[in-house]
Amino acid sequence: MAGAAGPGAGPAAAGGDGDDSLYPIAVLIDELRNEDVQLRLNSIKKLSTIALALGVERTRTELLPFLTDTIYDEDEVLLALAEQLGNFTGLVGGPDFAHCLLPPLESLATVEETVVRDKAVESLRQISQEHTPIALEAHFVPLVKRLASGDWFTSRTSACGLFSVCYPRASNAVKAEIRQHFRSLCSDDTPMVRRAAASKLGEFAKVLELASVKSEIVPLFTNLASDEQDSVRLLAVEACVSIAQLLSQDDLEALVMPTLRQAAEDKSWRVRYMVADKFSELQKAVGPKITLNDLIPAFQNLLKDCEAEVRAAAAHKVKELCENLPIEGRETTIMNQILPYIKELVSDTNQHVKSALASVIMGLSTILGKENTIEHLLPLFLAQLKDECPEVRLNIISNLDCVNEVIGIRQLSQSLLPAIVELAEDAKWRVRLAIIEYMPLLASQLGVEFFDEKLNSLCMAWLVDHVYAIREAATNNLMKLVQKFGTEWAQNTIVPKVLVMANDPNYLHRMTTLFCINALSETCGQEITTKQMLPIVLKMAGDQVANVRFNVAKSLQKIGPILDTNALQGEVKPVLQKLGQDEDMDVKYFAQEAISVVAQRLRKLDFPVKDSEVPRAPGAEKNHFLRPRVPGEDTGKGPTYRLHVNTRDTLVQLEIAELVHFSQSRD
């Protein structure tokens, strides 16, 4: 701030002379002149504070004119200003004065930077709703007209977004004018403006009278859809959805369909892409008859388009398209008109196309029924399961449930297994991660026997993967499997294998045992936890690696709630106390945290206190560990809660005091 310019000093000093009411504006002026953008930004963001301090009248007469005059700042400041003003109606005295906000927003709607302009338009749209119909015509509509006939493209672009909010409440004469302005923007010289108009065409059509839609919007739509710039044409496709919803079948056929057919065969792939991308919306908008006559052939072309982008977009829509066909004759249509093209796509040269298809193709089985699925779809699924691209295979596997409902997964299991095994051993860990996430789903579909036989070993192998994310996912996977197959299964198949890893020479694997115990203990229940898991955890407290030891502390804290008093008192507490005197700082820290939680639990077992929250352990605010909630704990705030608050607090204090003492004695 070297050599900061003087002019700001005056008002600030003026603020100091006792007249409180001068403060806000003085602060604002001073800050808005600051060289530091951040400070200017701060002051703009507190504009509502300033306005509130000034009161509604002075906000209108002093603050807003000041803001209107000083709009030449950095875009970041202007953006904040545009946003603030959208919520300012209350601060200027309510809807009767909403029009006071228009001048600054009008200037903001003309700036170059798109984000500022868009925000100003958003705020203007918001404020327009707060205008009375009279004020709307007196203030808002003239503003829209000024913007629509502005010199530079920015104001005309902004105007496009404002027509639809003022049209419904305007009088007929004004409505005609508004339509006229919109028309001229649709044929503006600047492509930016035509794009803005095209993107608002659908929105505007919705608020127009049907006659005007037919006589005015449709010609505009036709023109925009044949614009020389593909960026304009593709926006017309979006508008098509809204326009089609408004028209009767006959009108649609006569007025819209020629244009839509043309768009589906546009020479620019961007336009064709847009048609493919909006296909479901278009299908719903034009209704079943036109869909069968026109859209299906168009869709076939999109599915064999020369650009992969377009094919992929179309492939994504296959299921939705089929689903939304009229039930009557649906099967025939799909079998004869869609399926042949899908078959082609299964061996497409582009992997994005194949994986787009793989993500929806399974959904067809419910639509086509058992026999067709087995005869026609199954070969496709099997081919995709063997695809060279892992994502295609993954997409198939992730949607297995659709097929299972129809034909049962057994049909697939022979091909499924090699695919799964290959993905499970993929060199890319993200692929492995993805397949792990489908394991619970696969397990429930394939059943416990198949799982034990074929997949169990994979799940165990992931536990010793060299990537942590995989080991972590594998741990969670085990928990979900136990939830599916029950504790007995866990006791027989999972738990022994997990516990054996506690003796692994690699400390990372030993830690995995602990993580598994964390994940499994709650599902496995008290008995298994106390009898099988706890001894292992306790034994690991003597591990030579500190990371293992503090994870023991964490695990004990985690499984504490599942154990009974005897185990806690007799086994857990002594071990934790020993860890609490560990030479390693982290081990000590986590042990102490665990002690306080366990002590809390013990006390509750002795003297059940209903409270909603486990008190924080010392230093715990630094960590955001999820603290286990005691099962059956009551979160209700009955009278008991109030009665016991004091007791609880004292206990906590005692607890902390003891701990502090405890750790001090060690030092």
């Binding site: 602060v27 001073d30 798109t114 530079w152 930016m192 593709l234 892409y273 982008e309 977009a313």
Partner: protein, 486 residues
């Protein structure tokens, strides 16, 4: 307006979910995917069954009255397009077309009097048929022109020759713009400009020369070309942030600006302030900054009164976080200072040197270094010396501070030199500033505290208002409740 560009989303959505869990291996994954180095165009879809080409007799073997007819036949033959993505199909026909194109190039460049009025239509038709096509989607949805290898046009073996032919045609002494303007019209130019988005640098290079020739020869198209470039740039700046041919278009503009008549039209000034200056905000500035700075300096050389708005514009868009861009801005400022008039310098010295003082104290040593290099420039030094009483107070605090605090020894050494130079320019002022440095710092700190104080008071004021409001509503409430109780 984000919806105006679906293609980027199209393919990026298709990048496998398993690969985009986090950011860091994506690039390598993406690179590995791209074995295919060249791409086809969307042009083939419109064609039906492929016609096989049959070789026509050589032009040089034909008699002079047959030649013209044969020339047109060959042009028509070359309108047929082939799929280069399929490297085994139509090999024979492709070779025939290549040979024919070569022959055509040679024919128009070595013979006089062959470009007759009746041939224009066929010539332009052949060129349009070959080069005008919808550019295919980028193979690489996050194509980064600075890092990635461009995807090359597959049909280049033919297209190159067509461009070559086009250029020879335009440059031929027989070429008559008055006839050609019937065919090379606004629509033609519009399509030509769209091709500048081609990812293939070889194609853009040809386009650059072609457009330059057209601008030179077709006076009636000049305003239109400028306006369309304007639109392309605005779209690039405010909508898509993506257009491959910005540098090439700027290069052409550089020579166009050079030829502007004085005084400059308002249209041109508007282009400078509303298009070229905002263009500095673009993400990929490094790709075209040299050309952009050249254009800006061209304007200033034409009309020095533009200096102040230009520098204020640059200061407005000064990069906040990107040091690489900051270095480019400093380079451009130096180019501008090189041609600045002393009277103009006085108008902007204060805001400009405030920025420079921020730059010299940048913790990024390249930024600091670039700014300090200004003091190696004789002309800038002379300007500083003339205005030392204004500039020294602005610069002093930063220089003094970094001479003590900057981590980089090169910078510290440079700063010492600069300080020494400044001291020599006005020793007395320098001493005054040195002695008041501490007091100045303290005053700043105090001001800082005062500001916090002000905000606190404001906060209280607001609270007071809110409380007053609450009290008044509360009292109405209580009145209501008492009345209802009665």
């Amino acid at each position: 307006m984000s919806s105006s560009s679906p293609p980027a989303g199209a393919a990026s959505a298709a990048i496998s979910a398993s690969e985009k869990v986090d950011g860091f291996t994506r690039k390598s994954v993406r690179k590995a995917q791209r074995q295919k180095r060249s791409q086809g165009s969307s042009q083939f879809r419109s064609q039906g069954s492929q016609a096989e080409l049959h070789p026509l007799p050589q032009l040089k073997d034909a008699t002079s009255n047959e030649q013209q007819e044969l020339f047109c036949q060959k042009l028509q033959q070359c309108c047929i397009l082939f799929d280069f993505m399929d490297s085994v199909s139509d090999l024979k026909s492709k070779e025939i077309k290549r040979a024919t194109l070569n022959e055509l190039v040679e024919y128009v460049s070595t013979n006089r009097g062959v470009i007759v009025e009746s041939a224009y239509s066929d010539i332009v038709k052949m060129i349009s048929a070959n080069i005008f096509r919808t550019l295919p989607p980028s193979d690489n949805p996050d194509f980064d022109p600075e890092e990635d290898e461009p995807t090359l046009e597959a049909s280049w073996p033919h297209i190159q020759l067509v461009y070559e032919f086009f250029l020879r045609f335009l440059e031929s002494p027989d070429f008559q713009p008055s006839i050609a303007k019937r065919f090379i019209d606004q629509k033609f130019v519009q399509q030509l400009l769209e091709l500048f988005d081609s990812e293939d640098p070889r194609e853009r290079d040809f386009l650059k020369t072609v457009l330059h020739r057209i601008y030179g020869k077709f006076l009636g198209l000049r305003a239109f070309i400028r306006k369309q470039i304007n639109n392309i740039f605005l779209r690039f700046i405010y909508e898509t942030e993506h257009f491959n041919g910005v540098a090439e278009l700027l290069e052409i503009l550089g020579s166009i600006i050079n030829g502007f008549a004085l005084p400059l039209k308002a249209e041109h000034k508007q282009f400078l302030m509303k298009v070229l200056i905002p263009m500095h905000t673009a993400k990929g500035l490094a790709l075209f900054h040299a050309q952009l700075a050249y254009c800006v300096v061209q304007f200033l050389e034409k009309d020095t009164t533009l200096t102040e708005p230009v520098i204020r514009g640059l200061l407005k868009f000064w990069p906040k976080t990107c040091s690489q861009k900051e270095v480019m801005f400093l380079g451009e400022i130096e180019e501008i200072l090189d041609v600045i008039e002393p009277t103009q310098f006085k108008k902007i010295e204060e805001p400009l040197f405030k920025q420079i003082s921020k730059c010299v104290s940048s913790s990024h040593f390249q930024v600091a270094e670039r700014a300090l290099y200004f003091w190696n420039n004789e002309y800038i030094l002379s300007l500083i010396e003339e205005n030392i009483d204004k500039i020294l107070p602005i610069m002093f605090a930063s220089l003094y501070k970094i001479s003590k605090e900057h981590w980089n020894q090169t910078i510290v050494a440079l700063v010492y030199n600069v300080l020494k130079t400044l001291m020599e320019m006005n020793g007395k002022l320098f001493d005054d500033l040195t002695s008041s440095y501490k007091a100045e710092r303290q005053r700043e700190k105090k001001k800082e505290l005062e500001r916090e104080e002000l905000w606190k008071k404001l906060e209280e004021l607001k609270l007071k208002k809110v409380l007053e409001n609450q009290n008044s509503t509360y009292s109405t409430d209580s009145i209501l409740s008492t009345t209802s109780a009665e």
